[in-house]
Symmetry: C2
Subunit: 332 residues, 2 copies
Amino acid sequence: MEMINTYTRSFDELREAFELSIEKFTDFPESPKGLNEPIKYIMEIGGKRIRPLLVLLACDIYKGEFQEALKPALAIEMFHNFTLMHDDIMDEAPLRRGVPTVHNKYNVNTAILSGDVMLIYAYRLLEGLSGDKFKKIFDVFNEAAIKVCEGQQFDMNFEDETEVEIEAYLKMIELKTAVLLGCSLQVGAIVGGASNEDVNKLYEFGKNVGVAFQLQDDILDTFGDEKSFGKQIGGDILQNKKTYLLLKTRELASEEDRAVIDDWFSREEFDPKEKIATITEIYNKYNILDLGNDLKHQYTEQAFTDLNETSLSDAQKEPLNQIANKLLKRVS
Amino acid sequence: MEMINTYTRSFDELREAFELSIEKFTDFPESPKGLNEPIKYIMEIGGKRIRPLLVLLACDIYKGEFQEALKPALAIEMFHNFTLMHDDIMDEAPLRRGVPTVHNKYNVNTAILSGDVMLIYAYRLLEGLSGDKFKKIFDVFNEAAIKVCEGQQFDMNFEDETEVEIEAYLKMIELKTAVLLGCSLQVGAIVGGASNEDVNKLYEFGKNVGVAFQLQDDILDTFGDEKSFGKQIGGDILQNKKTYLLLKTRELASEEDRAVIDDWFSREEFDPKEKIATITEIYNKYNILDLGNDLKHQYTEQAFTDLNETSLSDAQKEPLNQIANKLLKRVS
């Protein structure tokens, strides 16, 4: 992201400070062999570092010392990567960001135990915080962490369920993905000294941005451009994933079209291109791209309403506006 | 344990209060299905509840309100059961305390995710503590939790290593088992208002009792009485476990005897009774029962030295003496 933060510190400056703090605070002992190496490995695969950036930004706009937020930012990123490490086991995913997942590169036991200790390290990174902020951050972190686990459980349960309500799906992506974005802003805002009202509003803002982002991800997976999306188009369709697009289409579709969808989703062998083309055609028949974008925009609007209800000035809101817009207006 | 606590509250009273607090504080939501049910399951299998009892006792003897220590005690027991749930996956253990392990009764993914959320619940149980105590307990809990993971990693690594030093083995059982006993006393003592010096000494006491207890467990597994030990005698030998008995014997044994041991340990098929008898005979040749008991007694003595270095009166020490003696003088 090459954006200009017109308010205080630039995104690049914050991100650079964060990357340095990873190096500094993940200098774990080499013994016992096998425990900490996978942590360095998954942390170094990288990713967009959205969550820690949100922590640092939120701290910065309240004129908090962003350095004070580096460890909490790393705690959130460490927690996030712990969930990736364990989710990848559960999903039997061979690759993450183009490289072997931890259980694939090492083994399942290593991914379980290294993940466990990552979660503890995440908590330990909160140790340095001062009394009142520490308690608040500890509470919001616990709550978010539990919700993320609940989201993963719902997601796994949905795989075995034939009928998933759209409301339940939206709740699932809220828990699994969006809550931690909200929590990142909460944590940063608490470090920065924000009022409880602002902390809560920023949570809602981040959460709604997160749901909108996940809906966008669902949309791009089918309707995106392979190059800018960075993943194979139609992956969700091939994996029978119960996305908003599928659930909404099944809700709207004629009995006949629903039967076609269910037939394709039950086939063990098929031509991938044909499956993607057929399902996408049915999606188009029910105008699902527009419906998906509408819903995404509802969440986006709610997010900006939440942001506007904080005590922040326009100048303070600007970096959050920028990062949300960047996240939600990816080239499709 | 039907012991009389001559100091303050009886063990039975504390244990009963603890069991009630499990019911009270593990009333987790039923949704998402599959996440919390295994937690109730493993918590209800029971066990001796040694760790929470140590928490409550330590609080009680400093004249702390033991009720204040119930949630921290549950946090420790919750953490302990989280490690059991994940260790059982890694060890592919089908049974625990005679009933199916969680990954066996449900599935591996459930055991991973329910274990993860247990670890978070353990932390959340610390939320109610007041400022200064909270920070101290958070720190000692983090440190112990990391060490327990390190111990499990060492234990897994040892399985693949041909030569394990006795020192490394003792370090492993310290980390995997003993540290959490020490931490239990620390946590209780902090809640009870003990001085930092006493907190540290009680940690050492608990840790040394823990190592002695594990050595005793190794000894009883080979030399115990099946009925009072409660497990099959010779299990460690059948599973090629690198216990103190084995490592010390291999160190002392003639080349010939070591070859016999290594031969038995390399066989894929064997008569279990013959294997146990042969290995036990070699153990006896090198007087390993006495050596094991000697080492156990060294740790036990060190433990009581640590206890005597606290500021506690004899009457205050009495329940800790009792519980340690009970743990370390099981009928063999």
